[in-house]
């Protein structure tokens, strides 16, 4: 155990502990899939040889898919870690603020009324409306929870839960209107999934994801302070209202970007941050980047299982995250004190 406070070097060392396995998983995961391909064929195609189906699958299906899983899992975990701190609630996760509800209404409307909107630039119609729904929910919650001295955390939490319930009602209504085969499409969206082919969707993530994650990572020192309560943090010189606002906006944008593309994927944002804190302590200069690596690794593994377990059909990845993540987390709980 370390004696002093963390140094930049110790920080880097700890991050490598998470980063190296993450990189390895990113490298290995594309080799597995519902169709068996020979890696030598891929290399052959890359180095100027004959273009093959294997290279096509590897480069344009599996690699973007694995990258997406890594980004989505990593982002959900970072947002979860940050929200747990500012909401003072260990059960907080990216979806606590009701963003998923807004996204689901958007996506369901797009599926129900295909003529409503076509895609634009790199965005698909369902994704655009889901994004719009998420942002709308964020604005509503912010308006409700805003106070002259910052944000009311309790209002934020309660408004988020209330909006989630309201959205559930609205979605039931949309489902009532939908025909059976559209219902199936909606259900698939609500289960969450990463069934993406190509780089287009990846591009679509970045405009909101990058600023969102950047904002959160830049707040990591202040998040440490907020774990000791707003008043002590304020006394120590932290501008608490500004940090709460930044984390809300950054986390909200990043979640909106992810949810609009992949639908709700549970568990990652809830358990990964706790696992990281159990493993390497609660300094958020480590917790945030480590959550990204661990969340990304976890979702890539779950997605690989989802793609291969029942090949050629594919399981929604949310099933795997819950079935694998739950027991793993309980084991961690039993092994260490919390």
């Amino acid at each position: 155990m370390m004696k002093g406070p963390i140094t930049p070097r110790a920080n880097l060392r700890l991050l490598l502990l998470y980063g190296i396995p993450f990189a390895a998983i990113l490298g290995i995961a594309p080799l597995y899939g519902s169709e068996s391909i020979r890696f030598s064929d891929v290399l052959h195609a890359i180095y100027g040889g004959e273009w093959s189906a294997a290279a096509e699958i590897f480069l344009f299906q599996r690699i973007p898919r694995v990258m997406l899983a890594a980004l989505v899992g990593g982002t959900l975990a970072v947002v979860g870690a940050s929200f747990q701190v500012i909401l003072h609630n260990p059960l907080a996760e990216p979806y606590t603020l009701g963003i998923t509800g807004g996204a689901s209404i958007g996506a369901a409307s797009a599926i129900l009324f295909p003529s409503l909107l076509t895609g634009w630039w790199v965005f698909g119609a369902a994704q655009l409306l889901a994004l719009a729904g998420s942002i709308l929910v964020l604005l509503m919650i912010y308006t409700i929870a805003r106070r002259p001295e910052g944000i009311s955390i309790y209002s934020l939490l309660l408004a988020g839960v209330t909006l989630s319930i309201m959205s559930a009602g609205a979605i039931l209504f949309l489902r009532y209107l939908a025909s059976p085969h559209l219902l199936l499409q909606m259900d698939r969206w609500m289960m969450g999934g990463l069934d993406v082919i190509g780089y287009r969707e990846l591009t679509a993530l970045f405009p909101f994801l990058l600023p969102g994650l950047g904002i959160l990572l830049s707040c990591s020192v202040e998040l440490n302070h907020l774990t000791m309560g707003e008043e002590l943090a304020s006394g120590h010189g932290v501008n608490v209202a500004a940090i709460q606002r930044l984390v809300f906006i950054g986390g909200g944008l990043a979640t909106a970007a992810v949810v609009s593309l992949s639908g709700p994927i549970g568990f990652v944002g809830l358990i990964v941050p706790h696992a990281v804190r159990q493993l390497t302590g609660c300094d958020h200069r480590i917790v945030l980047p480590a959550s990204f690596c661990l969340g990304g690794s976890f979702l890539v593994i779950c997605d690989t299982i989802a793609r291969t377990a029942f090949a050629p059909t594919e399981l929604p990845v949310g099933i795997i995250t819950a079935l694998i993540g739950g027991p793993l987390f309980i084991r961690l709980l039993l092994r260490t004190r919390l």
């Binding site: 920080n11 006394g235 120590h236 804190r277 609660c282």
Partner: protein
Amino acid sequence: MTLMIHPPDPLHIAALRYAYPDSDWNLKVDDLSLRQGELTAVIGPNGSGKSTLLKLAAGILKPSSGKIYLSGRKIEKMDRRSIARILGYLPQSTPYEFDHRVVDVVCMGRYPHLTLGGFMQDHDMEIIEDSLRQTDALSLRNRRLSQLSGGERQRVLLASVLAQEPSILLLDEPANALDFHHQIRLFGILRRLVRSGFSAAVILHDLNFASLYCERIILMNQGRIVSEGKTEDVLKESIVQSVYGSEILMAKHPQSQRPVVFPRLENPS
């Protein structure tokens, strides 16, 4: 034009008004100063406005009107970091969710002096050691918060406030939930700090500790200052009874002439 001869008081409050939203309760303080090298007790019944006054003085709550000066500068014009370099504030309670190491909590106090990344330099580590030493907490530095007793936790949090290198301390019930021994120990530490030049205001419920350890007392009731001044001038039977009721009996401490209080018994036997 007046010529400034004395340096400004460390903390000065003028014509301060504060009202909580949706409530009739309000706080009104016309003129109040903390002096250097003095320990001031803020006493009064529950709901009398002690914590509100301290939060206003620490710049954590914004007053409805009035001015607060830190070393002659208006607090409203200062950012949080500049305030934290002058004034240390210890809240009444802090959450227990995250199990930090003691040394990391004390490092948090260096925030107003740090640059990007928040990593400690050698100079910061000296101050952190010193802060832990001043609160008799050096031996706790590698423990986790969950492994501390209430008294140890208070000393660690106080060390994190001292690590800010402030000259003013505002402590909201630091002796809360401490046993007799640890209360005495805490006040020993506070006396030492004040002797070394701090100005400190401490919210207290125990009038005897206020009397025995503090030079000055601010007695509050219903959002107003009832009496303020030297300990022996404030802790008079008539004044104390006007706030706390007639069930209070006053006497002298056996070793000194300081006033002490007892509950008045209905049927002494």
